[in-house]
Symmetry: D2
Subunit: 341 residues, 4 copies
């Protein structure tokens, strides 16, 4: 089978990783075009990976007949217009998380997906991590009975820049960091009914100037009464720590690890090891497997395993958690409308 | 220095462990009398440990001039009258947790402590566990900077009997199980301002018949805005799991372990170990150290490191969490009065 | 059943632990007499544990009709005469490891055991450690198939004093440290046919002055061709580390652990925990269980699970390993006679 | 800088991994030609990776002027003639381990390296594993003082085919498996003076028919008296387990791990995780980094960090260990001549 000719839009840090994966690591794809509004960057990355075409205008890529499918990893605020244009152009599309910061925008994309019938796959890469994938299989096989409590921890080893952390661009901690955990919550457990949350600026006081929080905790009640808790931190100084636990009626599954290098240093009264530096060290393979899955779905005409609706619903929980934290109340997730979040 | 002559009231499971500790494991004490309303049990335990006196009437023990100090580990509903009688009798007293199920009762004991000036020490044994004690030392030494998030998990491997779980005698999951974690929260972090909580009957459906929950999660806001979360489970099927984590501005400390026997069994594609069976396997040494500490405090005229006020405040958080879970709201801990909980 | 009246001979560090265990921790025993050639020490320990009789002459203890059984934990060079006198006095006897430094002495004790028919139990406490005991059960149950390779590591966190390390009193590293591992090798696998060994003074150069080694490795061939390896170190700076592994035809079992306090300290790029300080922290419970087992065997008329022959054979391997290391050759264990080692 | 045009000889399992790495994962290389005596295989692999030239005759590749450097991963018995031809053709060359099964052949290659002055790098990929590389850095930085004992364990989860295991093609367990460990021993500690060894057919009895062993242990004495031990097993049923330990005068470093997927499954009384399936899962990155290092050395005119002499010396220890195991004696490594092993 011929390789899928993929056009990649957005060449920031993650975009360049995707460029490498699409051009060299994924047997089912070739990188047929790249686009970035930074024309020089597009040219450079194109040259690095021998890409036939490098565009400064994403729209040109979307209408390039040599392109079979599109991967969008541009800044979040551009997702809506790019995704919608891609869907209209009938290009099977992959959209990086989060879908948008505003529920209305995400909802508009989901609506366009329905209207155009074009393939659209959301990017929640954790589902492709071998640990998470194995956990899902074990749970579906009944290994821990019925999961009744979902617990998730996400910690970044250092805070983002103020420009990045600004909730106007990041969505704030519950959306920026939490959306991965809220997606996992839905994947493992189903729909969330209500959220309560607390948060604060406790370690990186400068974050207060832009209105973000550095530590936050949300408790979830699922539609059927089961329970969840997500704690988020931008001050996991020791390293990048992503841990998830499913407590079931016959056992528990825990996913996550702290050690990067397989080495123990044992000195007087101490055994020590290093930690996972950051997300790319932890999830590099998940990112690759995610795009490989996208390519296979397109090539074989399979439905998207993660649809835009999943993006909408994970975002909705993030918006609800933010509101719960702001107000101190219990927020009904489904009362969060598609209006401005 | 002569050994402290201790009178022990209450000879249930934990009482008999205390009998053994006071008579054989603690160099500073001798077990001078036991009392239990079950006269035959008192006689048997007395004989087993060569105790000079065995009473069926605790009051007689309290007024026995040969007794230097009293350890009360009788059923919770008897704590108030026994503690108050002991204080009036001027016997330095140790009271097992929880102090009471009703805040008013605990408050009355604290008031009696003040009024009589008699030494009274609350039993929260986790503070004496070598892991928790080491963590406290490290944190006080600044090893992780300022702790900003408190996380605690307590899981029992199986549910209690319905008779035990009945909130009328246990106080419900937030008090019965959570009081240890709420005490740790105060010990490590300070006073709690407000609580939000969720809970349910998810694994042991029979608990619904008595009105208890088997899984519950509470999020805490401390008085100065720092954060905490406690998750409790009566369905930790794999084993007894008590884990606590302090996330600080320069590092994190985690206390807890899963493995009981130091043995790995490695078979095809699997490495496995056993788990901690239950609380006595996990905290046997903490229980002993706690009574040893009590004895030393009495012998050396030191103040109680855990006062009845600590019992009152931990109970107050448990009551607040229960109310928060019942109502779905955010409950101000200090608005919880000393009236019927 | 009445408690076994035990007489304890030898009140050094381990002797005092045994005094505590026999008088307070073991339900089946009472400490009826202590003896030490240091009369003042005997008096003090006797007073501490309310022991009826304290002797400066072990022989007097051995002939005290109030004594049901004898525990000998005096210096190694005294074992032979004390054990033989105890056997002649028809006192069931427990003898701490090693039985002797000279095979001829150990053999003489074994011969006296046969001749007198008096109960004699050797002290190899690791067999009573819950980890080792669980491993034995699993292996006997076929969990790893047939064990074919035995691996053992023993490391002390610091060297002994020169006086202690002197092979004239310690036997040298293969006997002093290795005898535990050689006993385990026999327990798990059966008789050893031949030994090859290397060793050196690599870390504590002062040990060369007395002729001991600080690091040594022995490879074992069992009688049926199966294999073993034991590595010993007096320079395990990080902590006390005792690890044993059985590699079987269907799996592997590993016994041992490094962490003492259940606490992880997670600071920038590092996760660290403490280590086991020394043998008493690691094996305290094994020591107690061992004496409890001795008492039960005597009380119930059961044969000794560890006989003097086991002491002889473990010592024989230690002697063979020492000779192999001295000569660089492969030493046939059974060619090691009972003459001077 | 232009990419290094690499010609790859040998397209077995590992050869195809190298084809992928050289063509897609290593920024400094392009795969300019492949060769395999199986012409169809050469054609297929060439097509898969868009390689300009595919040869059935390795010699043609060696004389192709478009080729800058050569990677040889063909069967061991072909190494000598191919390496020597490549050196004569002045192509910088990478040779997969083992260099040869006969010391004389390896010595001939080392001699050709000296004579021709052509760059030649031996493949011992473990040195490029992040764990081993980090350990080397830590040790060189003095983190554990001076390493005095080297310990290594290598276990395969299942035996090779009889055809593969036949010592005539594999060299036997001490060469086939042990050569990696012997190379590490030299890398971390220096030259080995003498070896003693034991081995047997204990688990896979069919291996006896070809004269290989499935379990073996070698003890090493280094030239300066320091010590080492290597245990090898073809019956590590639980998984692929490569563990190395350096015991130093101030601490210890341990490299290795057992868990593949970051998931714990916790069921009644059990916590379990999976294991590393086999060498490619464990060392995939090391293989890539090794070839990347080769390319950089060639491009930048750096000397080979692992020379043919390293191959010769590691092989010499393997030959000595085999002889020691065969004879039961202590074998002087440097007395092992370059004649037929």
């Amino acid at each position: 089978m011929a390789r899928l000719a993929v056009g990649l839009i957005g060449l920031g840090r993650l975009g360049r990783v995707y460029a490498r994966d699409l051009s060299t690591r994924i047997a089912q794809t070739r990188l047929a075009a790249v686009a970035d509004t930074n024309a020089e960057l597009a040219r450079q990355v194109g040259a690095e990976f021998d890409v036939p075409r490098a565009y400064a205008a994403p729209d040109e890529l979307l209408h390039d007949p040599a392109i079979d499918a599109v991967v969008i990893v541009s800044p979040t605020h551009t997702h809506r217009s790019l995704v919608m244009a891609a869907l209209e152009a009938k290009k099977p599309t992959f959209c990086e998380k989060p879908p948008a910061l505003l529920l209305a925008e995400a909802a508009a994309m989901a609506e366009a997906e329905r209207r155009t019938g074009t393939f659209l796959q959301m990017g929640f890469m954790r589902r492709f991590d071998p640990g998470y994938a194995a956990a899902k299989t074990q749970i579906d096989d009944g290994r821990i009975g019925r999961p009744v409590v979902f617990k998730a921890t996400s910690r970044d080893p250092f805070p983002p820049s103020l420009a990045y952390a600004d909730p106007k661009s990041s969505g704030g901690i519950f959306i920026d960091m939490g959306i991965h955990d809220f997606d996992l919550a839905r994947w493992f457990m189903g729909e969330v009914k209500s959220v309560q949350a607390v948060g604060g600026v406790l370690a990186h006081l400068e974050l207060a100037t832009v209105g973000d929080r550095d530590n936050a905790i949300a408790i979830l009640t699922f539609a059927d009464g089961r329970l969840g808790v997500v704690d988020l931190s931008r001050s996991g100084y020791y390293g990048y720590d992503i841990t998830t636990e499913l407590l079931g009626t016959e056992g528990t599954i825990r996913i996550g690890y702290l050690r990067e290098t397989p080495m123990l240093v044992m000195t007087r009264n101490s055994v020590a090891h290093d930690t996972v530096p950051y997300f790319m060290e932890r999830f590099e393979r998940a990112y690759t497997l995610q795009l490989e899955n996208f390519a296979e779905n397109v090539l074989h005409g399979r439905p998207a395993p993660i649809a835009m609706r999943d993006g909408v619903e994970a975002l909705r929980i993030g918006v609800a958690a933010t509101r719960a934290c702001d107000t101190g109340g219990c927020v009904d997730v489904h009362a969060i409308g598609a209006g401005p979040a």
